[in-house]
């Protein structure tokens, strides 16, 4: 069973299954936070509604659009590599990375604004708020924070993919890493698709 092909390149079905399984763990990781959200939301519906008014739905919507488009561009990059369109593949991943950057910049301003208002866990202002609002903001920071961490990880992964397309290690015959990187990126999008309405659209 040891052929040179096997030693250089993993069987793509095997590698892809491994990545899907890893995505399942990420879903359950965020799932724990969704459980807390569900419990707290049911307990403090009014406070959640009120606290969500502090959030800027426009920035949230923009970020949603940014991630949806980035999912498309990374999916398209796979089509490109399959069709041996190397520059297009790299370009599409580059656009994906730019969009990831836009997302993070938006996040920076969002968080910065709230922190400037002293609206963060443990702050003097936070302590004066009703319980449900404290829960809301705790969830907001932890969920979007953990999500942002995954945006960064995804970005690093896709950067490596782009460099490997450039060097030819990823090509129209062997693109498992790109497929897996794209899957990871889609996960980042999936989580945001749930976060957006639950945090921003409950006003």
């Amino acid at each position: 069973m040891s052929t040179t092909e096997h030693s250089d390149h993993m069987d793509s079905d095997t590698g892809k299954l491994g990545m899907w399984l890893f995505l399942f763990t990420e879903l359950f990781l965020f799932g724990g936070l969704f459980i807390v959200y569900a419990v707290m939301r049911s307990k403090y519906a009014g406070d959640f509604h009120h606290a969500a008014l502090e959030l800027n739905a426009f920035i949230g919507a923009t970020n949603t659009v940014v991630l949806l488009v980035s999912s498309m561009t990374v999916a398209m990059s796979l089509t490109a590599i399959q069709r041996n369109q190397k520059s297009l593949a790299m370009g599409l991943i580059f656009i994906t990375l730019i969009l990831a950057g836009v997302f993070m910049v938006n996040k920076y301003f969002e968080w910065g604004h709230k922190i400037g208002l002293h609206l963060y866990p443990g702050s003097d202002v936070m302590k004066t708020l009703p319980h449900g609002e404290i829960m809301f903001f705790g969830l907001y920071y932890m969920m979007t924070g953990l999500h942002a961490l995954h945006v960064i990880i995804g970005g690093i992964l896709l950067t490596i993919v782009m460099l490997r397309i450039n060097s030819g290690k990823i090509n129209s015959q062997h693109y498992l890493l790109q497929e897996n990187g794209a899957l990871y990126w889609h996960l980042v999008d999936l989580i945001w698709i749930f976060l957006f309405p639950l945090l921003y659209l409950i006003t």
Binding site: W20, Q82, F194
Partner: protein, 94 residues
């Protein structure tokens, strides 16, 4: 040894999927103006679930993968839903 599946999604398909997703996003945003009260959560979650299903099916290529993987993904979401439901047997009835 199979090295990659043969299906290649067209650029056209990717654009179409994005359009649908953007439309659904717009609907979710407009829906909050409709003052549905308690049903806002339900509608938001349903629309989000539809979007997630679309991303899984097309962008993540599940439509073109084998049945086993689709069953695994479905099973994972189902398990999570059951765990939340069981947690609520406590919180709902307290």
């Amino acid at each position: 040894m199979k090295n990659h599946d043969d299906h290649i999604s067209s650029y056209q398909l990717n654009w179409t999927v994005l359009l649908v997703l953007l439309m659904l996003t717009t609907i979710s945003i407009l829906a909050i103006k409709m003052h549905l009260g308690a049903y806002t959560v339900a509608l938001a979650l349903i629309l989000a679930s539809v979007k997630v299903t679309i991303v899984l099916t097309y962008f993540m290529h599940l439509k073109f993968e084998n049945l086993l993987l689709r069953l695994m993904v479905g099973g994972v979401f189902l398990l999570f839903a059951i765990v939340i439901a069981i947690t609520f047997t406590d919180y709902y009835f307290r």
